[in-house]
């Protein structure tokens, strides 16, 4: 028996989960951009037809941008008292409506957070999270999951996979919305991520309760609703967690006698990713790195939006009496990332740093964990202020004919 849930009931599901005290994370429109957010209420949850991909991955619900890992306090006898965060009191959370390229990042992150030391901050959240993914019925020009070996309906990392049931409207396929606006059903929908000033001009900015206002009319400024409107989804539980979720909310699902036809976008692979590592193996030194990275600004926009980037920095904030230790996102693009105490920097130039980014994702990670640290979501390209396009870099590498031996840069 196939199980089917309507968009309406998906919203109901969010409501039941919220009522049960769970944290529900879903795509929400804020200032015209779609982001994964913990819901305040179910009305702000966007239907699948309103976004291709939220602006950043959902990784911060597993690996927050900043997180206290320790508190210290000296008592009157000058004895230090340490306090670790109570991870058991973290809420149970359900991610409702993420995309397969985000879900697929979880098995990748599991590797690095668990290979020698099982990071409790990550794994406690992982344990308490159920991931309900909606397969992509559309993609945009920045998507390249299939080139990396994933798919618009890939199962990796999901507990439940929903697929939109074909309704004959035939709107699946590519969207011409590549310049940062991945949230809209048509080019004028949503707001331009590159110019957030303009939604203030419409007077929204004065509303201090902006989120709730937007939630009431998610279709703001033409809202990006595509012609299909909200649909129905075929639900498939992939794990025990997924089965438990479906079983607990059985009444929200209809039984269909046979699996109906589904609407999953078709995305051709743009390059052969298997050719990338062999080239990288032989081209640690190559003129291409400078050519690509000469424009890299060295910010963290790519890494912080990336579903698989996982580097962090440890900082202490406090004084001699008390304080806390924090784990903050960090990025190999930053010139400070590898600076030694002596001042020496083994990755002194931006080309070395960019090369590290590519090698880590497509060589070192693959060698160590048998997985690439990329799911082809395309956010790094979308978010890059100077349009440094990893998709294009990989396509170029895969197409290089100069074989595995290195050319030495003069």
């Amino acid at each position: 028996m196939a199980q089917v849930i309507t968009q309406e009931n998906l919203v109901q599901l969010a409501g039941k989960l919220l009522a049960a005290g769970k944290r529900v994370i879903a795509p929400v429109r804020i200032d015209g951009q779609v982001c994964y957010q913990a819901l305040f209420f179910t009305g702000e949850m966007l239907p699948e037809s309103e976004y291709v991909l939220p602006r950043a991955s959902f990784k911060e619900f597993f690996f927050p941008r900043t997180e206290c890992v320790l508190r210290y306090q000296y008592d009157e006898k000058n004895q230090a008292r340490l306090e670790e965060p109570a991870l058991d009191s973290l809420p149970e959370q359900v991610i409702l409506g993420c995309r397969p390229c985000d879900a697929a990042s979880l098995p990748i992150l599991d590797q690095v957070f668990g290979w020698d030391y099982k990071d409790p901050f990550y794994f406690k959240r992982r344990e308490k999270t159920t991931v309900v993914t909606i397969a992509c019925s559309r993609h945009d020009e920045q998507c390249y999951c299939t080139s990396i070996g994933y798919a618009p309906d890939h199962k990796a990392g999901s507990d439940v996979l929903l697929k939109r049931i074909a309704d004959g409207s035939g709107n699946a396929g590519i969207l011409p919305a590549p310049d940062g606006r991945r949230d809209a059903g048509h080019p004028n929908g949503g707001q331009d991520a590159r110019g957030p000033g303009k939604n203030l001009a419409s007077g929204e900015g004065t509303d201090t309760n902006l989120r709730s206002k937007l939630a009431v009319c998610p279709g703001l400024s033409n809202g990006g609703q595509d012609a299909r409107g909200p649909g129905k989804y075929l639900a498939e539980a992939l794990t025990e967690k997924g089965q438990a979720l479906l079983a607990a909310h059985k009444n929200l699902f209809e039984e269909a006698p046979a699996a109906p036809a589904v609407q999953v976008t078709k995305l051709e692979a743009a390059f052969d990713v298997e050719k990338v590592k062999p080239w990288l193996d032989g081209h640690f030194e190559d003129a291409m790195w400078l050519e690509i990275a000469s424009k890299c600004l060295g910010c963290g926009a790519c890494a912080f939006g990336c579903p698989t980037c996982h580097c962090f920095d440890i900082v202490d904030e406090g004084d001699l009496k008390s304080g806390r230790r924090l784990k903050n996102w960090d990025t190999c693009s930053s010139c400070l990332f590898t600076v030694h105490g002596s001042g020496h920097n083994p990755r002194a130039s931006q080309e070395q740093r960019y090369r590290q980014r590519v090698l880590h994702k497509f060589k070192y990670y693959l060698e160590k964990f048998k997985l690439r640290a990329c799911t082809g979501c395309g956010r790094c390209s979308v978010r890059c202020p100077v349009g440094l396009d990893l998709h294009e870099v990989l396509r170029t590498i895969a197409g290089r004919s100069d074989g595995p031996s290195g050319t030495v840069r003069n």
Partner: protein, 288 residues
Amino acid sequence: MPEVVEELRALARDLLAKGTVKTVIGYKAERLANRVSPLIITSPDRAGELVWNKYCLNNLAVYLTRGEVMRRGPAAVVVKGCDARAVCGLLQEGQIARQNVVIIGMVCEGVGEPLLEMCKSCDVHVPRLADYIIPKEAQKPAEAAKTPAEADAEVARLEALTPEERWKFWREKLERCIKCYACRQACPLCYCKRCVVEKNQPQWISTSAHAAGNFAWNAIRAMHLAGRCGACGACERACPQGIPLMLLNKKMAKEVALHFNYRAGYDPAATPALRTFDARGDNDELFR
């Protein structure tokens, strides 16, 4: 190919071939038709890759202070009027020498699709300071507008809010900051080799992306650009989280214009506002 692009390519080719400059910084086409990206070339053979169109958003002046560009020698940079204001700032602040930069000013009727909001109040369609204006036959730069472009409706609306409302507004916006520093890295005037947020003995500004750290960082960024920001909007466009950073910059520019009668990026010979402290004046705030 539009004539203006041919003219740009010919000029770049000529400058590199004659050795007038070692580097040309411009834009090139990308995989997607509605994006371009910066192109840094050193050979005249590559001048044919240069493009100019409404998607040329980046302020390329940011590359003028890059080590590898400076080491090579004089550089030519393709600028819009707003970008030229940043070049002016770099000259005023002694970061680049006038003889080491060739400014190729593109006559610009606004960029972005749809047109960027900031372009609607532009008063530098023809870049000032340019060594070459493309297209050649364009008129000379107009005088700066008497009313600062910064004095816009958004800033006024925020000013009209109560402090509590404003606090709420910024708390909501700055909550999104992830400390990626794309705003800083994209800004031509954020050229410090070591930013204040990276100074950790002591740590002046928290590097954590929590509320306090985000307020501290975004406030100090705005303060450090007061009287310097040329309003190109690069920071705001670079922000992957959609924080309206230009509101802060515009507010600061408005205050500087009001109190110091100074607008950044129009006159390379002018003394920057933050360098005009006069100990001989009747300044009530003298150290005492």
